[in-house]
């Protein structure tokens, strides 16, 4: 856009005349459009109206690529996963976080998605704990200690969103390393750094700190908001984390949510351990007791620790009296699907639908909608490798991301069981 107008304005100078029409007789303004090819993102529907191209297929292919990369590492070798995670979320509140290339500002966007992330994280990892850290004025500060309550973290974060000063990766890592060193050996130590700045002002040699983190088996991941930095890449490579840079807000959301499912465990660290856990009973409605976590009397809705009979308000948590890990059985069950994910569905090439030998399912096994696109053109669809049920793309995503069960396989198993 800028090319044409600016050139005209400036081209008056005696020597700056542009004698270079590379694209022949196109005008400058036309050329910018030639470059962008904006018309290609439009298509005509049956009634001749223009509408943006349906990017569902594109979106789905992205999703499938992600799924494949996940499953190729996970299912192939039945990789052990860290279900009990201790994650420190480091939020960079340096000067760079107040920049406005994300609207309204980077820090607002970060806060919004951190909130969503924390909720999603506890949803997927009920047995895990999160702590919050901020970097500001070159110093790292602990905002909240490790804990299992999403609300308290979110509240603490929302109160502290001013940005100033430089950023220091080393200070943050040192602090995290100090905290995570005390974690019991069955827990998986992780740091997720949301880094806005493009440099780090460190008091010492950061390479040593990285080696220290590597030794303490802390998995460090970074999401950058501006551009790729060598030191972040190096940190992630050394400690087995992932490094990504957000293109825009939606991409940032995607990236941060990728950290919600548990990562594969670090090999040499993945020793099997028995962990003592308590499954507390829910106290009777209407009974009054003093809860041990808030130190105040409450009516109903609490849990009683099976070992010391102390009362706690919510699960999962650690009993403040005897230190027993308290969970409920649905929490364990929710963590289970990470270990046994359903196999990714195979894509069906469109031409095989026209194959007369092939028995054609016309409707999606999941939602019972027609599998054909408007105009009876065959659309993209997928098939479960086990039960051979056909699914539409929406159901594919829903099954893999939320349901964690294949409806086809389950119903066939039930019907088989019925027969026997």
């Amino acid at each position: 856009m800028n090319n044409g107008g600016a050139r005209r304005m400036n081209g008056g100078g005696e020597e700056d005349d542009d004698e270079d029409y590379v694209n022949g007789d196109l005008d400058a303004w036309e050329r910018t459009y030639t470059d962008e090819r904006s018309w290609e993102s439009l298509q005509e529907d049956e009634s001749g109206l223009l509408r943006p191209i349906d990017n569902k297929a594109l979106y789905h292919s992205q999703y499938r690529r992600r799924l494949r990369s996940l499953s190729s590492t996970a299912t192939a070798a039945r990789i052990q996963k860290g279900l009990i995670r201790y994650l420190y979320l480091v939020i960079d509140l340096s000067r760079a976080a107040s920049e406005t290339d994300f609207r309204p500002s980077r820090i607002v966007v970060i806060a919004k998605h951190v909130e969503a992330f924390i909720r999603e994280f506890f949803d997927q990892n009920p047995l895990s704990q999160v702590g919050l850290l901020t970097i500001k004025d070159g110093v790292a500060q602990c905002l909240t200690d490790l804990g299992g309550s999403p609300e308290s973290h979110i509240k603490a974060l929302m109160n502290k969103l001013e940005c100033s000063g430089d950023s220091s990766l080393q200070n943050a890592l040192d602090l995290v390393d100090g905290y995570l060193n005390q974690i019991p050996s069955y827990g998986h130590r992780e740091v997720l750094i949301l880094y806005s700045a493009l440099s780090t002002c460190d008091p010492g040699d950061i390479m040593e700190t990285i080696q220290k983190c590597k030794k303490s088996k802390i998995r460090c991941s970074v999401i950058g908001l501006a551009a790729e930095m060598f030191i972040c890449k190096h940190l992630c490579q050394e400690t087995g984390g992932t490094y990504s840079v957000a293109l825009d807000e939606s991409h940032f959301k995607e990236l941060i949510l990728e950290h919600a499912p548990p990562p594969p465990a670090i090999a040499e660290f993945a020793t099997a351990n028995l962990i003592k856990m308590g499954f507390p009973q829910r106290a009777a409605e209407g009974s009054i007791s003093i809860c041990s976590c808030h130190k105040e009397a409450k009516v109903g809705a609490g849990y009683t620790c099976p070992r010391c009979k102390a009362r706690v308000c919510e699960l999962p948590t650690e009993c403040c009296i005897c230190g027993l890990t308290l969970v409920s059985s649905p929490h364990l069950a929710r963590s289970y699907h990470h270990l046994f994910p359903i196999a990714p569905f195979d894509e069906v090439p469109p031409f095989s639908l026209n194959d007369p030998n092939h028995k054609l399912q016309r409707n999606c096994f999941g939602c019972q909608q027609s599998l054909l696109n408007p105009g009876n053109k065959p659309g993209l669809l997928v098939v479960c490798p086990k039960c051979k049920g056909y699914f539409c793309l929406d159901c594919d995503i829903y099954i893999h991301e939320s349901l964690h069960n294949c409806p086809g396989c389950d119903s066939f198993r039930h019907s088989k069981a019925d027969k026997e």
Binding site: N2, L198, S199, T200, S244
Partner: protein, 758 residues
Amino acid sequence: MKFQIEDVTVYFPYDHIYPEQYSYMIELKRALDAKGHCLLEMPTGTGKTIALLSLITSYSLSKPQSPIKLIYCTRTVHEMEKTLAELKLLHNYQIKHLGPQARILAIGLSSRKNLCVNPTVLAAENRDSVDAGCRKLTASWVRAMAAENPNVPTCQFFENYEKAASAAVLPPGVYTLQDLRAFGKEKGWCPYFLARHMVQFANVVVYSYQYLLDPKVAGIISKEMQKESVVVFDEAHNIDNVCIEALSVSVRRQTLEGATRNLNRISQEIDRFKATDASRLRSEYNRLVEGLALRGNLPITDTWLSNPALPDDILKEAVPGNIRRAEHFLHVLRRLVQYLRGRLETDNVEKESPVGFVASISSHAGIDQKTLKFCYDRLHSLMLTLEITDTDEFLHIQTICDFATLIGTYARGFSIIIEPFDERMPHIPDPVLQLSCHDASLAIKPVFDRFQSVVITSGTLSPIDLYPRLLNFHPVVSRSFTMSLTRDCICPMVLTRGSDQLPVSTKFDMRSDPGVVRNYGKLLLEMVSVVPDGIVCFFVSYSYMDGIINTWNDSGILKEIMQHKLVFIETQDVVETTLALDNYRRACDCGRGAVFFSVARGKVAEGIDFDRHYGRLVIMFGVPFQYTLSKILLARLEYLRDTFQIKEGDFLTFDALRQAAQCVGRVIRSKADYGMMIFADKRYSRHDKRSKLPSWILSHLRDANLNLSTDMALHIAREFLRKMAQPYDKTGGSDRKTLLSQEDLEKMGDGSVHEMLY
């Protein structure tokens, strides 16, 4: 992988090949078939070296009846080692596939400083003193003396090498300089002389440009190379300057003073010999009367640098009578030095042709042209007779003799310029007399004439039609290749205006304008806040860089820049610059981020890579034109116009743009890398300037990026950096193949490759 190019089976040590490497090989093969010279431009980072090596060695393997020798010239020792390492890889691969018949001998050759293994000699700090130290131990008369008197020190490595005589050979294989030293140490043989000896038998020789182009060195090293050789000049974009320097001499006051000292010393030696061993001087005289050739029958250790004139121009005649006697020759030299000293005492810039200068010498100092011509040979002979070994002390008189021989030999293509002071510092008298060569084709002509094929290749040879004119040869192939990229990993931009929409330029009348300086400062300031890790800035000259940095410092811009990144500056001191570079790299590594200020045409711009995070952005402030008021440049321009019909403007722009391209090319060293390039000068948007950039930059310079202001550039930079940080597929999509496997190559015949590439 292994594939067929026409009738040659090419062995390539990697599983995949870039399409441009493949087409590079095809062109190269055609040139070899035609036994002609060629000119090939291909961007760095595309594997030029391995493509060259694997094609040429495979070519010679497939035609065993007429084996060709490969002479590979590099600019630096570092590049030499890299080339040999690649060759080693290739060689192992070929042996694996072909067995012992693929064995070749490949060696690197460098100066004694890089090859010597004698600890006492190596202790000397510079090249000339190492050479002299070696001569002190190995000269034939020293060894003769040692044979009688065991207390005279000799080099035991050289003695062992001599003892082994014809048995001292290198078994086939690829030897880097380090391998040579290790081999020498193990066997107890001198690696330098072993390498010099083996050069004649080796299939591949890797050495520096000078060994072929500088007649002083080429005369002793490369004399016996066979005609069936392929000569490769790698990174040859500055080859014309190398050629010119090889034939240029400059004389300063210090040179003359040193020469006088040398002459006194020589005259003492002569007196000493007269007293003790007068027969030696007499026998030398007799030899000169008979007109015996000086070279040829000397032992290998006694050869000194040979004649500075090109072999064809040296007269095969006896030394003229008036300088046959040592004392007479000394008188001639004294008169010459005296004359030159007189010429240096001038207040004006003087420019003369060699013919006029010789005439003036002959009338004032009474030395005729023929005598001048023989100065060099005569000095050489005298030094041998006097058994002088500390040759590093005698460099001054040697320079004077070089000068005399050159002006005696050449009448065209040279001029003599005397400047009483440096134009930029008119208060400090620093007279210098320069014999400058204007014609690059002189020095390279013997190379073109002697060898079957000469390959000139580099990342920046644009515009490619100018080189044949400058070097005066006819290439059978001249092609420029672009880079096939999996993603658009370079982002060139032309920035013409600051944020305030005022044009920026380093044009002479604008460069000191405070608005321009401020806009440049603002540009850098904005960029340091959005670009991670390293940024490199190139300025047009040291003085301009000093000026602009001072202004930035005064206005506080520099301080603001330092908040984001550390600042390092190249200086004329090599040690200081090395230190700065080292710290710059450390700052990039540890995430602090850094800016490096450097100068186009400086050491950094020529030889240092800023790949990966060491250079995410390079800003070229201004167009790096040469200092156009320099007398030497003016004389050269005039000569180019008269002789080759190259317009002054064309040459200057060509030279400036190749330097600019060289500077910005520092950031991309491989395809996995990415980087931005900002040309910050309004003159770059003009077609005549821009079109001289290499095609691999031009093809990425979109029209929309041709006329940017600072804020627009900033926006583009942000977008670009985000895009590049995303993971990508290394092999490229199905529509844009950027890596070809063996099957791909077999599948497509020649035709389809061509369709795909062009």
